[in-house]
Every structure is written in structure tokens, then in C-alpha cells.
């Protein structure tokens, strides 16, 4: 008993099997996490090597180079870049995608062991660090405060940070912008000198006094008591009475030489939200945590936490990555529902029967739900790719069921009982249904094998489509016939209302059928004209290709922007703050209705703040973080707003550098950036070239911002000691340097404990004594003969600190990033840059090349190109096996050519860019467009076998197959329309895909339906002619043989 027969005869088994699949699917769905993108595996390993005291160049030569040379031989390495700056070398190894990062880490570790002996003795052991996307903060909270500002750190630490850190999945929670409490002991240098008491003695004295020491135990009578000395201060003011030294036989107290300030850290970042000072709380997740669930938990917890805070402290959300994810998922779910409605409607219009429509529609949820089981089993998530996949699949999963149902209906109309019709009808089309699913497999299975960045995106899509197609095939061969047997019956009389509604539709469809038959009747009689016309259109569409711009990835409007504004190095925090506040006001005034929160941080980060110290900071650096209302609620796109903000920044001549970027930055989703790499050893030459190039780039309208990676030389003051003089005073350089550090940066004397918290007690010069070079020269050092001034043993000079030395693939490099203006395409920026490079005089030894996302784009284009070829060959193989012919698949392959014209025309008309999403659409088209041709040519062949002539067969097939073709095409196209026109959050990502598929499928279907009969008739006519010629020749030969049989036989004998 065949599978369809048993399915029809065992309806309970069949329906319950599918119910089980659906149950599993729904269960998996409820367990699936939600994310924006599929998990992108890390492919980057960083190696940190500390070598204290070495300059950037020393680090480059002694640490970075030997490490690079050895690490370069690690397998699957794509690029090796290094940053050599004072004290540290950071090497970044970027690997090809798709390899196990743990194996690679082991390889790297082995290589590091090999090279360890070649590193300088004082260099620390290299540290391996795996970078992962988990380190990107998932949430940023802004805190506004007024009178609580001074104690904000402790308030937040106790009431917000600790509760948040306890939430499941939350990794690190850090506070920035709220300075921590610190007990500052400010010393008066003049008094110090007078009493001959240095900072170190004071610091040691405070440390020694602030102690609790157990004194052991002793017995009194029957009891044992503990003995303790408790000297820890209960109030910082107690420190005033510490004896810090002795002068002329009199005790010197701390109050004689210093003042105590119980306040906050001297140098700290300040954070302002919407112009009001406060703090920022940054939440990072644990690796593998589910961002949406964590964000939701945090959101739920916030109102409760807010209640515990003083009334002037207000917490708000500046950045919540889950918001964008959820909105994107919502939009996409909306498009899926729209697609579902469209598809069901199309099926009803074409079939005109409610029961048939239900039978078809029911395969959609079953096939789609099954893919959730795969996602759950492989640890996937509901994300943009998996949801787009569902949206794409809706139109295609009904195809198989439609073919089966159509044939079963024919059988019923011929008089079979529904059950028999279901079995035999399915049996007849089973093979061709499988073949057409195989062509879809031929398209989607290779997608699972793509490597690189594109592979990350396509792997999930490929597997999901394969599974959906498989389930839809099984459903169409079992569930559909079973339901047909149960639900369909010969329709002998239709209700009046139904006829009233459906008769006009019927008339239109009939008219289309007849019109199309007439067109084909003309086309097969004017084959060459039709062919010339088709290829003419193809040529025209190629012209459009010139007008289409390309980019790597569609820009994603994540409703976030960040800006890094740098003032000249050394600008005081007060000046930076003023400028930042002015900018905030300007931006809030100009884009007020779009901005949800505008937050900035300025100043030097505390060493203990993990998040803040990862990014650049300093008193001259302002970092803005802005969040906007969702893209569907504002007129300007995030790119346009950023472009305008860049113009605003230009109005401030005092700003040295600015970098405004959208989204999370990085490869995907942000604004496109054309990256140029300048390789060359000579600092001055490469700097000059980079500046010249950047200036030229800035002149173009296409580019809104140019960043040069190498920073300027930073001015610094340097103390140059005279070693001989130091030695005369019994000092060496490191002792002297420590003295300077203690006086300026402060010596950590002890910790002051209060309520279980520890606060630093720092001893240093008072601020008035730390203001000029003269003050530095007056620093008192402790020589063997008492205090001496720094002036006596050294001098203060000003010079420039060389910037970080960046290297890539073992050569020094400067990168120039040109950010494209809103709407400008990456390809234009690259072309413009290349034209500038051609005009520039580039000295020997220096090379400029294009890199960054353009390189990624080229790479993924190459990958996708290879993929397209593999898919074409596979599809050809499937078709050739089905038809047992090489000619017909060849004819059908031309539909792919027309699909290409369709894609180009679609992109050109809508002004979209060619990017990875539209190319994905193009690749999927290969499978979709040949299906139409298969249906048509299959029926032409059938009619020919039934004995019809070429023209009659073509016209007959065209008339009979138009509806199924139109129906399957319309379901796919209409299924995609919600994707292509959607305006919701995140829609810009998949719009190109929808446009490409709709354009390609429309043009290709129209062309296929006209040119396939024409082309077929050419080949078939040739076949007939050849056959006739062969027969004629055979006949002539036979006649010749009959006449000359004896002569020929004689000739043979002679030989």
C-alpha cells in the first residue's frame, strides 16, 4: 500500500500524526528565545601582552612583531592586526567563520608557548581574550539626580546595581558618571617642607593607625576572653589627630600639615541625561543569555527599584536592545499574518471552493510550525532570518498541495468517488510533486553550506526552508489526499449567493485564459520575433544594472546613535562639559520630537569601571548615547538625523574630531562605511597621505564623515631626571618616579570602612599645589640628606607622545573610514575613493587598498556567486533527470535569466541597492522560477504524447496550465508583498529581499509563459525536421542498398 493510499484509508492516523507535529512545534515555539539575528559565533581572539615601561615602538618591535610572526601560522587565520601602544601590545586575530573557536584558542595558546622565550624578559605572559557579542551592553539606564548627586554611587550601588545583578542572566552591571566616595588627604607642600614630613610618612602613618588587630585570648576564672586592639577610624575627622612625625622634639599632627576632604574621587566621568547631571548604569549579559528575557526582567524590576530611591533620583531607559528586537519581530510577525491572508485569498479566488481552500490552507501552519522543532533542537532562536524564512515559505508550501488537489478534483469531476480520486489522483502527480520539491531542495540545501559572514545568515534559512519544504511535501502526499477524500465531493449545485460573488471572478479568469491562449497561438507562429523581443528586454534590463548601487548589508534603523566628540587633547573637563551641554541643547531643540533620550559622558574613567575603561576616555572626550523613537514614528531616518548632526558638530570650530555612528556599529546594520587601508612603515608619509586622502574624501557629497584611525601625537609633560644627581641624593629613577606619582596621583594610605563598604583614603598634594610646571618642579623628593626639590635633580620638558602603532597582516597601517551619507551607496564611495587614489602620488613602499565592509561584500559576492552556480547545476540535474532530456532543462534555464532582469528592473524602479539580502532573493528565485516552466513544458509534452501537433499542444497546455501557474506565482508574490512594502521597525532589512523576489518572479513568470512555448516549438520543430531527415536518409540508403546490393557485395569480396 502506497503512502497516499494508507493515508487516505487511515484518516485518524494521518491527522493525529500531523497533530503531533503541530504539538511539538507549538511546544518548541513556546521555548524559543527571541533575538535579532541568529547566533553569530565569535571569530576573534585577542592577545594582550603587557610590557611596562616600553614605548609604542619598543612594543611594536619586541612584542608585537615576534608574536605576529608566530601567530600568523595559525590555521584558518583571515587577518592579524595589532595595536602597539605604551606598555601594551594588543594583537587581534580574525579567523574565517565556521571554525570552533575553542580549537583555535588552543592553537593560539600552543603558538604563544613557542614564542614566549623570544619575548623580552620583563614582558608579562601574553593573555588570551575571546571577544564575543555578549560584551555589547544590552541595556543602558540613565539616572537623573539633583541633591543626591554626591552620594549617587552608593545609592545606586545598594539599591539598583545589586538587585539588577541578581537577575538571572545578567552579567556585569556597572555605574559610570557617579563618582565614588573617597577620603582625600590634601597636604600643604610648604608645611611639609617646614616640618620635613613627606607624603609617604603621612600615608604610612595613616595606614598604621587605621588597624584592628586581634591580641589573642586569655583566661579569667572559668572564662576565655578575646583580646583585641581596635584602631579603625569611625569618622574620617579622627585622622586629624594622628601623629605623622616629629619635629624638634614636638609631635606633628596630621592637622598641622594637611586637610581632610571627605568627598568624591577627583577625576571621574560625569554623565548628563537630557542636560541634567546624573549617572549611567550599564548592563551586560552573561554569555548565552537571552537578551529579550533579561531586558524584560529588568524592565519589570525597575518600578520596584525606583520606589527605594530618594525622590530626586529618576531612572530611565536610554538603550534597550530588546525594544528594537521586539518591534522588529512584531513587524515581521505582522507581515507573516498578512501573507497568510493573501495566500488563502488567492487560493479561494482561483479554486472557487471553500472546502478546497481549507484543505490547502491547513498545510501552511503544519509546515511552518514544524520548522520550530528544528530551531528548538539546534538551539536556534526566533529572529529576523527565521521569521523572514517563514514569510518566504508561506507562498511556496501551498504549491505541492495545490497540484495534488487540482488533480484529485479532476478525478472527482470525471466521476471517481472522492476516496478513489484522492488515491489515484495523488498517485499520478506524486512523482512530479516530488521533483518540484527537489528543485527547491537543490536551491536551499546548498545555502546550508555557505561559509563566511553570509553563511551565518543563510545556514539557518537553508535548513529551515529544507525542513518546511519536506513537511509540505509529506503533507501534500498524505494530509491533502486524506482531507480531499473526506471533504471534497462532486459539486452538483452551487448556492445562489456563491454564484453571485464568484461568477464575475470566474468570467475574469476565463477571459484571461482565452486571452493568454490567443497570445500563445500568435507567439508559436512568430517564434523568432518572440525570442528576439524577450532577449531585447533582457538587454534593456542589463542597462538598468548600471543604475543600481551596491552595498554590503542594508542599513538597519535601530533608533540609536552614538557620537564621540574629541576636543584638542588636554582640554579641561569644564570646557568639554560646556560644549557637550550646548550640543545637547541644539540637538534637543532641532530633533526634539524624535529624540527619546540624549545622554553624554565626559571625563576620565575610573580604572575600576570595566565598561568605561574599555572605550576611549579622557577629559577632552565626550561620548554621546542617544535613543530615538521607533523608525515608523518619525519622518527622518536615523542616517539622515546623523548626517544633520554631523553638520551641527561642524559649527563648533573647537571640536578636533567627531565620530557619529548609528546603531551598534560594526559590520552589520550600521551606516555603510568605505574603508581604505594605507600600508607603509614611514609614520610621517602615511600620516600625510591619510590626511590628504581624508581631505579629498570630505569634499564629496556622498560622504558625511571621515575618520582616520591613527590619532595625533599627544602632548605631554615629561620629567627628565639627571641620574648622576639622583645618585648623589641616594635616589634611583624608579624611587623618584614613585615620589612624583604619590604627590600628584596620590598614595593609597588605607581604606576607610563604613557600613560594610570600603573607601579609598588617598594622600597627595592639595589641588592648589598641582597647577603649573613650576609646581611640578617644586615637588619635594626624599633624598638621603632630607627633602630636595625636583628642580635640583631633573627638569620638566614638554613633548609629543607617539600614537598607537597599528599593524595589519604584519605591516603598519592607517585606516581611513568614510561614512556614507544617508541614501548614498557603498559602491559609489569606493569608486570615488579609488578615483582619488589614482590621482594621488603614492611614494614607493606605501600601498592604499580598499577593505572593511567592501571587502566583506566582495567576499560574500564571490561566495554567493559560487553558490548560484552550484544551485543552477543542481536544478539542471533535477530537471534533466525528471524529463530524461537535456534540451528541455536548457530551455527552462532561461527563466533564470529573465528572473535576473526582473530583479534588476525591480531594484532599479524602486531605487533599492543591491546587497546581500537582494542577492539572497535572487538565489531563491532560481528554484521558484523554473517551477513554472516545469509545469508548462511537462503539460506540453503530455499533450504531444497524446498525439497533438506542436502548435496545438503549446496552445492547449498554455490554456490549461495558466491557472495553476498563476495561482502558485500569485501566492508567492502576494506572500512577499507584505515584506516588500512593510514600513515597520526593521523593515529596511528585508525590503530588498521582497523587492528582488517580487520583481524577479513577476518578470520571469510573464516571460516564461510566453517564451517557453515559443522556444519549445523551435526545438520541437527542429526535432521533427531532424527526425524526418534521418528517416529520409535511412530510406534513401535502404533504396540504394536494394538497387546496388550485388555491386556492393562484390566490392567487399574484392577487398
Amino acid at each position: 500500500m502506497s503512502i497516499y493510499e494508507s493515508a487516505v484509508k487511515k484518516p485518524i492516523m494521518t491527522s493525529l500524526c500531523f497533530l503531533a507535529i503541530a504539538l511539538f512545534g507549538v511546544f518548541s515555539f513556546s521555548k524559543l528565545p527571541i533575538d535579532l539575528m541568529p547566533d553569530i559565533e565569535t571569530n576573534t581572539i585577542m592577545v594582550f601582552t603587557y610590557y611596562n615601561g616600553a614605548s609604542a615602538e619598543d612594543i611594536e618591535n619586541n612584542v608585537s612583531r615576534p608574536l605576529e610572526n608566530t601567530l600568523n601560522s595559525v590555521e584558518h587565520l583571515k587577518h592579524i592586526t595589532s595595536n602597539s601602544r605604551e606598555n601594551v601590545s594588543v594583537i587581534t586575530l580574525e579567523f574565517e567563520f565556521g571554525y570552533d573557536i575553542d580549537d583555535l584558542t588552543n592553537d593560539v595558546r600552543d603558538k604563544l608557548d613557542m614564542v614566549a622565550s623570544a619575548l623580552p624578559d620583563d614582558a608579562n605572559n601574553p593573555i588570551i581574550f575571546k571577544f564575543s557579542t555578549d560584551m555589547i551592553p544590552i541595556m543602558m539606564l540613565s539616572v537623573k539626580a539633583e541633591e543626591s548627586q554626591a552620594a549617587l554611587y552608593k545609592i545606586l550601588d545598594d539599591n539598583v546595581v545589586n538587585p539588577l545583578a541578581r537577575i538571572d542572566g545578567v552579567g556585569t552591571v556597572s555605574i559610570s558618571g557617579a563618582p565614588e566616595r573617597e577620603i582625600n588627604v590634601y597636604m600643604d607642600p610648604a608645611k611639609m617642607e617646614a616640618y620635613n614630613i613627606p607624603v609617604e610618612s603621612v600615608s604610612a602613618a595613616i595606614g598604621a593607625e587605621n588597624r584592628n588587630i586581634p591580641g589573642g585570648t586569655f583566661d579569667i576564672g572559668n572564662n576565655t576572653y578575646a583580646l583585641r586592639v581596635e584602631g579603625e577610624f569611625s569618622d574620617p575627622k579622627e585622622m586629624y589627630d594622628i601623629v605623622v612625625g616629629n619635629f624638634n622634639g614636638v609631635n606633628v599632627f596630621l592637622k598641622d600639615v594637611a586637610t581632610i576632604h571627605d568627598n568624591v574621587q577627583e577625576r571621574a566621568q560625569e554623565t548628563y541625561t537630557d542636560g541634567q547631571q546624573g549617572a549611567m548604569i550599564i548592563v551586560q549579559k552573561q554569555s548565552g543569555g537571552n537578551s529579550v528575557a533579561i531586558s524584560q526582567a529588568i524592565r519589570d524590576a525597575l518600578p520596584e527599584l525606583q520606589k527605594r530611591l530618594p525622590s530626586d533620583v529618576k531612572i530611565d531607559i536610554i538603550v534597550d536592545t530588546s525594544e528594537n528586537i521586539l518591534q522588529t519581530v512584531d513587524t515581521l510577525s505582522g507581515t507573516i499574518m498578512d501573507a497568510l491572508v493573501f495566500v488563502v485569498l488567492v487560493v479561494f479566488i482561483f479554486l472557487g471552493r471553500w472546502r478546497a481552500t481549507i484543505i490547502i490552507a491547513i498545510t501552511i501552519p503544519f509546515s511552518l510550525i514544524a520548522s520550530f522543532i528544528y530551531l528548538y533542537a539546534t538551539g536556534g532562536s526566533i529572529n529576523m532570518i527565521s521569521l523572514s524564512c517563514l514569510s518566504i515559505a508561506i507562498g511556496s508550501v501551498v504549491d505541492d498541495a495545490i497540484v495534488v488537489l487540482e488533480n484529485v478534483t479532476t478525478h472527482i469531476e470525471r466521476g471517481s468517488s472522492p476516496q478513489n480520486a484522492a488515491i489515484h489522483g495523488t498517485n499520478e502527480v506524486g512523482v512530479s510533486v516530488m521533483a518540484s520539491t527537489l528543485t527547491m531542495f537543490a536551491v536551499f540545501f546548498p545555502l546550508t553550506m555557505v561559509t563566511g559572514m553570509a553563511g551565518v545568515l543563510f545556514k539557518q534559512l537553508g535548513w529551515m526552508m529544507c525542513i518546511i519544504m519536506l513537511i509540505s511535501l509529506v503533507a501534500s502526499l498524505t494530509l491533502t489526499p486524506m482531507m480531499c477524500a473526506k471533504m471534497l465531493k462532486l459539486q452538483k449545485k452551487q448556492s445562489k449567493i456563491f454564484l453571485l460573488i464568484y461568477r464575475p471572478i470566474q468570467k475574469v479568469l476565463d477571459a484571461i485564459d482565452n486571452g493568454y491562449a490567443a497570445i500563445i497561438n500568435w507567439a508559436v507562429r512568430h517564434r523568432w520575433t518572440v525570442l528576439a523581443g524577450c532577449f531585447g528586454l533582457f538587454a534593456v534590463s542589463l542597462l538598468c544594472a548600471k543604475g543600481i548601487k551596491s552595498e554590503f548589508f542594508p542599513a538597519n534603523d535601530s533608533a540609536r546613535a552614538s557620537a564621540k566628540i574629541e576636543l584638542p587633547v588636554g582640554t579641561r573637563i569644564d570646557t568639554s562639559r560646556d560644549i557637550a551641554l550646548k550640543l545637547t541643547n541644539i540637538w534637543r531643540e532641532r530633533y526634539g520630537k524624535d529624540i527619546k533620550a540624549c545622554n553624554f559622558t565626559v571625563g576620565q574613567a575610573d580604572e575600576n569601571n570595566t565598561f568605561a575603561s574599555l572605550s576611549d576616555n579622557g577629559s577632552h572626550i565626550i561620548s554621546f548615547n542617544m535613543s530615538f523613537v521607533p523608525s515608523d514614528q518619525r519622518e527622518l531616518s536615523i542616517d539622515e538625523i546623523c548626517d544633520q548632526m554631523r553638520a551641527d558638530v561642524k559649527e563648533f570650530p573647537e571640536i578636533a574630531k567627531s565620530n557619529i555612528s548609528t546603531g551598534q556599529g560594526g559590520g552589520m546594520g550600521g551606516q555603510s562605511m568605505a574603508t581604505f587601508e594605507i600600508y607603509g612603515y614611514d609614520f610621517k608619509e602615511t600620516d600625510r597621505l591619510a590626511k590628504e586622502f581624508a581631505n579629498e574624501m570630505k569634499k564629496s557629497d556622498l560622504i558625511t564623515q571621515v575618520n582616520i584611525s591613527r590619532s595625533d601625537y599627544q602632548p605631554q609633560y615629561r620629567v627628565e631626571f639627571d641620574r648622576e644627581k639622583l645618585a648623589m641624593h641616594g635616589l634611583n629613577l624608579s624611587t623618584a618616579a614613585t615620589y612624583i606619582r604619590n604627590r600628584y596621583n596620590g598614595a593609597l594610605a588605607t581604606y576607610y570602612r563604613e557600613d560594610g563598604e570600603e573607601y579609598d583614603v588617598k594622600v597627595r598634594y592639595n589641588p592648589e599645589a598641582r597647577q603649573s610646571i613650576n609646581d611640578i618642579e617644586n615637588i619635594k623628593l626624599i633624598g638621603s640628606n632630607g627633602l630636595i626639590s625636583l628642580r635640583e635633580v631633573g627638569k620638566v620638558v614638554m613633548n609629543d607622545m607617539p600614537p598607537t602603532i597599528e599593524r595589519k597582516d604584519r605591516e603598519r597601517i592607517v585606516t581611513v573610514d568614510a561614512v556614507m551619507a544617508a541614501g548614498a551607496a557603498l559602491s559609489d564611495g569606493v569608486t570615488y575613493g579609488q578615483s582619488i587614489i589614482e590621482q594621488m602620488e603614492i611614494p614607493t613602499g606605501i600601498a592604499i587598498q580598499v577593505a572593511g565592509s567592501y571587502e566583506d561584500q566582495q567576499e560574500s559576492n564571490r561566495d554567493l556567486g559560487q553558490l548560484a552556480i552550484i544551485i543552477l547545476v543542481l536544478v539542471f540535474i533535477v530537471m534533466a533527470s525528471q524529463f530524461e532530456s537535456l534540451t528541455y532543462p536548457f530551455i527552462l534555464m532561461f527563466s533564470v535569466v529573465f528572473a535576473l532582469s526582473g530583479v534588476l528592473l525591480g531594484l532599479f524602479i524602486t531605487g533599492s541597492h543591491l546587497n546581500i539580502m537582494s542577492m539572497l532573493g535572487g538565489i531563491m528565485l532560481i528554484g521558484m522560477v523554473v517551477k513554472n516552466g516545469i509545469v508548462l513544458i511537462d503539460y506540453i509534452m503530455l499533450l504531444r504524447e497524446r498525439g497533438l501537433g506542436i502548435i496545438a499542444a503549446c496552445v492547449g497546455a498554455a490554456k490549461s496550465r495558466l491557472r495553476p501557474v498563476l495561482m502558485t506565482t500569485c501566492t508567492t508574490i502576494l506572500g512577499m508583498i507584505p515584506m516588500a512594502v512593510s514600513q515597520g521597525v526593521g523593515a529596511e532589512m528585508w525590503r530588498p529581499l521582497g523587492i528582488a523576489v517580487i520583481g524577479g518572479l513577476t518578470i520571469s513568470t510573464i516571460m516564461t509563459m510566453i517564451y517557453v512555448p515559443a522556444m519549445y516549438s523551435i526545438f520541437a520543430a527542429n526535432g521533427v525536421k531532424n527526425k524526418r531527415r534521418r528517416i529520409r536518409k535511412q530510406r534513401e540508403l535502404n533504396e540504394y542498398w536494394k538497387e546496388h546490393k550485388q555491386e556492393e557485395q562484390l566490392k567487399h569480396k574484392d577487398k
Binding site: 466521476g415 471517481s416 478513489n420 480520486a421 489515484h424 498517485n427 499520478e428 503530455l942 504524447e945
Partner: protein, 97 residues
């Protein structure tokens, strides 16, 4: 005793067997997947790409009194769905054991 040879579109199988049962005819031989085509307008049943449907045939031997009724019912079934194809032929049985 008469032999009735019924040849039909495979979809008719159950209906034909029902008719035989209905007429108290227990024994028959069924030939599955046969090819054939009608003499006048009957569509070919070849099981090929062009003509995918197939025939089945039943040969049965019945008492003379049943023959007319069987033929009547078979004719009615055929007229119900003329496109499928259903014919019955009757001839005499000389001997049997």
C-alpha cells in the same frame, strides 16, 4: 453458467465488487494494473505520463439468472460517470469442475 468479464477504470474497483457481492456472486478473479483503451471514445488507460490512469478487470462466473441484474447495475454505474470507462462482456461456460 455465464462468465462475465468486466473491465473498468481502476477507480471503479470497489463499486464493481460491491455490485457482484450485491448479486450474490462470491467468486471472481481481479486483474490489477491493466492497460487498455475504449473502442469508441474511451480514453486510453496506459499508466504513462500522457495517460496516467490504469484499468482493472474482473472475470467472474455466475448463474444465468444473475447476469441481467449485474449488467443493469454496471450500466447504471457507467452512466453515472461516463468519463471513467466501464464495460462488461458475457459469454457461456462450457464446462467447469
Amino acid at each position: 453458467m455465464k462468465s462475465v468479464f468486466i473491465t473498468f477504470d481502476i477507480s471503479h474497483k470497489e463499486a464493481v465488487i460491491d455490485i457482484l457481492t450485491h448479486n450474490n456472486c462470491r467468486g471472481f478473479s481481479f486483474f490489477d494494473h491493466m492497460q487498455g483503451r475504449g473502442s469508441v471514445s474511451g480514453e486510453p488507460h496506459y499508466g504513462t505520463h500522457a495517460w496516467p490512469s490504469m484499468c482493472g478487470s474482473i472475470i467472474t462466473v455466475v448463474e444465468d439468472k444473475h447476469v441481467d441484474n449485474i449488467l443493469k447495475e454496471i450500466k447504471a454505474l457507467d452512466e453515472d460517470s461516463p468519463q471513467l470507462g466501464l464495460r462488461a462482456f458475457v459469454w457461456s461456460i462450457e464446462k467447469s469442475y
